[in-house]
Assembly symmetry: C2
Homo-oligomer: 387 residues x 2
């Protein structure tokens, strides 16, 4: 078989993320997918299959959302929906299909159009989710992790603020980011409280956007470009919707991240993550989420996430560049698009094409995508430019 | 690589389909999945990954719908949503993953809980679908195919009724069918009109249910049972949500079925379908749909679907046994479950375990699953017991 490590990304595309009131789902998919195809130097007719991640039900129910946008008729297109991991799961299934050698050239993409849906956007995200159905929203659910972390490790609201400051610093120079501005520690600390301790600037925005990646095997990739990137490690894990009802849940770690990372590191042969991973697009839906995630990913010891961030260890020139794109916090978070947008950023970084936000000499990059309240589903994909 | 033809089904399970008011999503998934695991003689801990097809947004948003039901935590679980093909697309992605040799033992399942959702059930199916959003329901959309077919080929309402009579005859002896009764030609002809020409007995019911399949490679399957079945052909196609707005659409064929069947037959090496396929679970959401599909699948000439059905060519002992289970029409149609339920039936038939409805000597069986108004997405999977 084609080993999963032989699966290659040869093109990526993304729209600007933000309140894209002028653009519909079709517009954004068209922009992202054609940018990816142009980047890969392929034509739509070469695509043999597609995968599309969408979370919100009003955005699209089937693969035809993609075929109607980019006119790739008659090929199989799978629509994946897996909370905030919808996009990275589309990418994963596309990679498995390429590894099976059933398809030589495929597209994985994600899209979400949320801002102009009025009240339908976030409330409908609760359908079928027992915790959210009972009234716990995303900021309040993730915010609950703070007091326990603070008690156990002395994490402060200022530590959280450092995450926002870092990610806005990175995203401010990113032309496709939802927000293109820096924020100060004081601004984050004094922002209106959304759900204590999380203030407005601790929360990622509600964004529209789309991203896409062209996937093939390494032996084919060589014909298209020298600087293709390949899969080094991949791990996904699904836990439970009821985690926050579990009397043993201690709020100190998201188990899906831990399990997904274990698998991805094992496949990649990585035993010392902070010294072997150059950069990570890490799921920072809220500042506290990034703190727990960098610990769960092994980039620092459990409990050190706050101080390590404050010390600059996750800056672009730090030990691991965490969210060089600006992350969900600053780049934006159109649910189904986010996982593929992470692949976009990691690929650009590994190709040395991340203008203004480049991690110098990057060889190994990670996409880490977490979904569901408190972390129900997680995907970790590690890419490399080493041949 | 493991060829897709080396992918094997070693266990299947299904709930009774119907108005399962006493059962929730978890109950039905548990019943179907554990029946499949018992059939395969495996334990839940052996499952390395899962795929679950669900269409309705209130039923579940992620793979955790499956992990919470059967307690298979920490493994990757993909949720697919692709109109009525949601279930067969889950099966397809599971097969591709097994063919990639990334996983040795996986589960594909589908579930839907519609009957007790009140008005949320069918109206929400229209989200994102431009035709249905403008008021065209499923019976009216599919019913539109009749006048054109009647004009071109002389198809009559009585021809349609023969589909219902045949499928109810088959399903009447099926202990898991939604309806367990035969209907007469007169009953079908005189049933109240839902959307002309389709009467109540031309339409599949709204059902709850779940189905599951355990998938592995043939070399592993041998250790579990001698009568495992393998993939012989597979083809999927996605067309457009706008087909019914297309001025060139002639209502005489569903293009996704034609394209998916072409691919599946090519892979299977089948050139004379009616003489090489013993049985087919064929998407009969409405009687007219089966008429067009048996033509599109090449089981008879275009236009002959009505007379061929009336002549008994698609009876269990006919040229091709079409819907020996009773089909969507009689067995029921819980959207996300249906595609996997087709795999359940075809597997049972190929194992000679379809009590009372057995196609004698069956060696090659097909699951054909069509989704979206007028046929937007289609999957064809051909299984065989020939080693």
């Amino acid at each position: 078989m084609a080993d999963l490590r032989d699966v290659a990304v040869i093109g990526v595309g993304a729209t600007k993320f933000g309140e894209n009131f002028d653009w519909g789902v079709d517009d954004m998919l068209t922009m992202a997918c054609f940018e990816a195809m142009e980047d890969a130097k392929i034509e739509p007719g070469q695509l043999e299959a597609g995968w599309i991640g969408i979370q919100y039900p009003f955005t699209g129910f089937s693969g035809a959302t993609l075929s109607d946008a980019i006119k790739t008729y008659d090929i199989p297109i799978t629509h994946t929906e897996n909370y905030c991991v919808s996009g990275l799961d589309a990418f994963r299934n596309a990679c498995l299909a390429v590894a099976s050698e059933q398809f030589d050239m495929v597209i994985a993409c994600g899209v979400e159009k949320i801002t102009d849906q009025g009240g339908r956007g976030l409330p409908t995200a609760g359908f079928g989710h027992p915790v959210q159905m009972s009234g716990l929203t995303a900021p309040s659910a993730f915010g609950l992790a703070f007091p326990r972390h603070a008690l156990a490790f002395g994490t402060t609201k200022e530590h959280l603020a450092h995450v926002a400051v870092k990610n806005h610093f990175n995203g401010a120079v990113n032309p496709k980011a939802h927000f293109r501005r820096e924020v100060t520690l004081e601004q984050v600390m004094k922002a209106p409280i959304i759900s204590g301790p999380l203030g407005l600037l601790d929360c990622c925005p509600i964004s529209d956007g789309s991203a896409a990646a062209i996937i093939t095997r390494a032996d084919i990739a060589k014909k298209y470009r020298d600087d293709y990137v390949t899969i080094k490690g991949m791990g996904f894990a699904t836990y439970t919707n009821l985690m926050m009802y579990d009397k043993n849940f201690d709020y100190l770690a998201w188990r899906p991240t831990v399990k997904a990372a274990e698998k991805a590191y094992a496949m990649a042969g990585i035993t010392d993550p902070p010294n072997e991973v150059d950069l990570a697009e890490c799921h920072d839906c809220f500042t506290i989420t990034e703190i727990l995630n960098v610990e769960d990913l092994g980039f620092c010891k459990k409990g050190d996430g706050g101080p390590a961030t404050a010390e600059g260890r996750f800056n672009i020139d730090g030990q691991v560049a965490v969210n060089p794109s600006g992350g969900l916090k600053c780049f934006g978070h159109p649910i189904g698009a986010t996982g593929v947008r992470m692949i976009y950023e990691v690929t650009k970084q590994l190709q040395g094409r991340a203008d203004g936000r480049q991690r110098e000499g990057a060889k190994v990059g990670m996409a880490h995508n977490l979904g569901g309240l408190g972390g129900v589903v997680c995907g970790v994909v590690i890419l490399t430019n080493e041949k």
